[in-house]
Amino acid sequence: MARPRDVPGLDCDERFDLAAGRVIEVRAAELFAHADGVLGVEDIEPLHDMRVAGRRLRAALELFRPCFPKKRYKAAIEPLKALADALGERRDRDVAIAFLEGFEAEAPAGDRGRLEILVARLRDEQAEANRALRSHVGDRNLAALRERFDDLIAAARR
């Protein structure tokens, strides 16, 4: 799992709203930096890293909520929640498949057929989750999300 980036210059005595702009800028950049490779199913770590970055961003938004105008806050957090849900659906299947594939080798021969059927079903669900995720992580949607966060950051600094 990716470690959180430091927020340069964050100071406990700094005004809460100015700190908000600084933190959201770093956490949003973290989210977008992890977008590459999330649709791949051979390496499941990029998706996990983007999901964790999204959680951190959401936690920061909740922390600094009073510093933002309501409409702009809502305009940023709603698509973020939708993205988080789509990432979560994929991640649940990734985790289950990885666990079951690890277990298959040591499972008794009599259980292996059923395990293979279960893994195949989960692979189908993983593909379906990926189809739903694709639109959220497309260039156009990510650019629109980035714009909403830029607006939010600007509002906190005013």
């Binding site: 959180p4 927020v7 964050l10 100071d11 406990c12 005595d13 700094e14 005004r15 809460f16 709203d17 700190a19 908000a20 933190v23 959680r55 951190r56 936690a59 920061a60 909740e62 922390l63 909520r65 009073p66 510093c67 649940d92 985790v95 289950a96 666990f99 079951l100 277990f103 499972a107 008794p108 259980d111 059923r114 395990l115 279960l118 989960l122």
Partner: protein
């Protein structure tokens, strides 16, 4: 689980007193779920406690320097709780799909028991109580 609203936050005031109010509320949420979550099979409360631990952890990642030295041990505790309770939830979810696969059911039951025991053990540790109490005093 929706986060409890934190009252009295002031955007024009410094980060530290605002963060202290938020951390105090999040600590209260974590403790509030513990009594029920420590009961075997209390999956909803365990899920809520995992979310509370996650919120506390991510807030402390940003603000623990304001609460030194009490912030870091609680961030570590929250991370461990989040991990154990997350693995417990994954095991529960997989059990729902494991019907009829005897070896898998058996493995998942054992895994669930071990994770639950680790959760109880971690919560009962003196170091856990001390870390939580120290941060509660710091943000009070």
């Amino acid at each position: 689980m929706k986060a409890a609203k934190v009252k009295g936050l002031k955007p024009a005031k410094p980060l530290k007193p605002n963060a202290a109010k938020i951390v105090a509320v999040r600590l209260g949420e974590l403790r509030g779920f513990a009594a029920t979550a420590l009961q075997p099979g209390a999956t909803e409360a365990q899920h809520d406690m995992r979310i509370a631990a996650k919120r506390l952890r991510y807030i402390l990642e940003l603000t623990e320097s304001c609460f030194e030295p009490a912030g870091k041990p609680v961030r570590h505790l929250a991370r461990e709780l989040q991990g154990i309770l997350g693995d417990l939830r994954d095991a529960e979810a997989m059990l729902a799909n494991a019907t009829g696969i005897t070896s898998l059911e058996s493995l998942l039951h054992t895994r669930r028991e071990l994770l639950f025991a680790r959760f109880q053990e971690l919560w009962a540790e003196d170091a856990t109580a001390a870390a939580l109490a120290e941060l509660e005093d710091t943000v009070a």
